[in-house]
Subunit: 301 residues, 2 copies
Amino acid sequence: MSIIVVGSVGLDSVKTPFGTVKKVLGGSASYFSYAASLFSQVSLIATVGSDFPKKYIKLFNQRNIKLDGLSQAAGKTFSWSGRYGWDMGDPETLSTKLGVFADFCPKLPPQYKKSKHIFLANIDPELQKNILKQIKNRNSKIIGCDTMDFWIENKRKKLLNLLKDIDIFFINESEARQLTQEPNILKAARAILRFGPKKIFIKRGEHGVLLVSGKHLFNAPAYLMESVVDPTGAGDTFAGGVMGYLAVTNNKSINTLRRAAIYGTIMATFAVEGFSLKSLQKATLTKVKKRIKKFKKLVSF
Amino acid sequence: MSIIVVGSVGLDSVKTPFGTVKKVLGGSASYFSYAASLFSQVSLIATVGSDFPKKYIKLFNQRNIKLDGLSQAAGKTFSWSGRYGWDMGDPETLSTKLGVFADFCPKLPPQYKKSKHIFLANIDPELQKNILKQIKNRNSKIIGCDTMDFWIENKRKKLLNLLKDIDIFFINESEARQLTQEPNILKAARAILRFGPKKIFIKRGEHGVLLVSGKHLFNAPAYLMESVVDPTGAGDTFAGGVMGYLAVTNNKSINTLRRAAIYGTIMATFAVEGFSLKSLQKATLTKVKKRIKKFKKLVSF
């Protein structure tokens, strides 16, 4: 099964206590598609500028990620610059330059309309909705979606409208609280379910992931890491692992979703071990399964 | 098997977003002994003032907690007053009045020297060391110990000296970082093991507990709660559950320690559902086991 992902492909400049990188591959759709492509065929819909390095196109090609939907426009590629403190929590954004992304109006190539698995990575909820409108037989699809604090604050109504049509919503713990004004995370999850999504993954950073669907709860524990070099993209990588696993198993039962959460968690552990997609590139299916085995041993009782 | 606990019995005044209580039963040894007594015989060594309400003595009696070592001195009972914010994280201390606790110089009654299980709840590391000196055949005992940020800051050397003789050290995540100056929690745990303790439980509040011993790691996940009314005493209750379970099983294998961590976690969930020991009183062994079953379902994959 194939997944369509719509989101950002950008160039990140990141400073953490463990190093600094400049203008390296980043963006929600990059992390997502790279992670998902370990499991499934991925088609990437995004836009980059004329400055976008060819080596990153090669990187996508190596994973057979379909790039028919990746437009290259005159101008600069979307770029983000941020800095992490010792707690490796939320980064401080130093600059965001939209570049060609400012005019991004994603169109679904006709051959993609059949795809059953769609992921709307973190972009303007109006663009996300726009993509949804291009999809026929929406009810038979598995539609995942992510967002961020900026949209919750500035496009709340549009976001709530979008959520009605979402199967699987991915959101950070702090954003879940922000969206619902509810400090208790379980109550916040239930409140979000009332907005429409059938399932929610609440990403709790180094504290694991919470999956809530109806009355079903799964608290996927955290995988303890000795070395976190750069948390950028962890959430998108998680979503890529989840959606990729769902696409390859082609079912969305609760037990599959639980396993998908574990695959997503482990994919994210690879992502944060290095800057950009460097460490994620080392994640083979064998290595991922080996780490899951170790994880199971770490948390079972 | 019987456990000796040395620590504080006090009167707490607590304000949380869910209510306010004044001069209710608190103190590290109170929570610990109440939790541990669900599993094992407990002997409490502490001191209270002449103002200590008889109803709390009754409460200890109901659980057959031995009070030969609880002295009552002329003066006021130790009292603490604190306030929690919406995050229910670390409380803001409004006042600490030592009262008779200022002159507390715990002596081990001779009949207790045979006990195999000893817990040194959070008090001055010099007093903790003093207790240790009174114990013969220390090597054949299971000695647990807790501490707090105040001692790490003000009596670091004494604490490090104490840790050489400790089997099982209980410490909060932030305190583990403070003690080792190491932000990564796994590295911090390993650094603490080098100070002497054979096993460490790092308490991560609502994010679970980490057990580290040699190369062995167990990341006990958190039990998600819909309602936390007052987190006071959660850590001491956890330790009580752990040490109580170890005493009744009378072994300290890694698998027993893992199960003990789960019992401790579940005991703590009861403690935080109400003020003081109110909700903890409702925790029967049947209810605890039922909650563990639910917990297992919540986190297994």
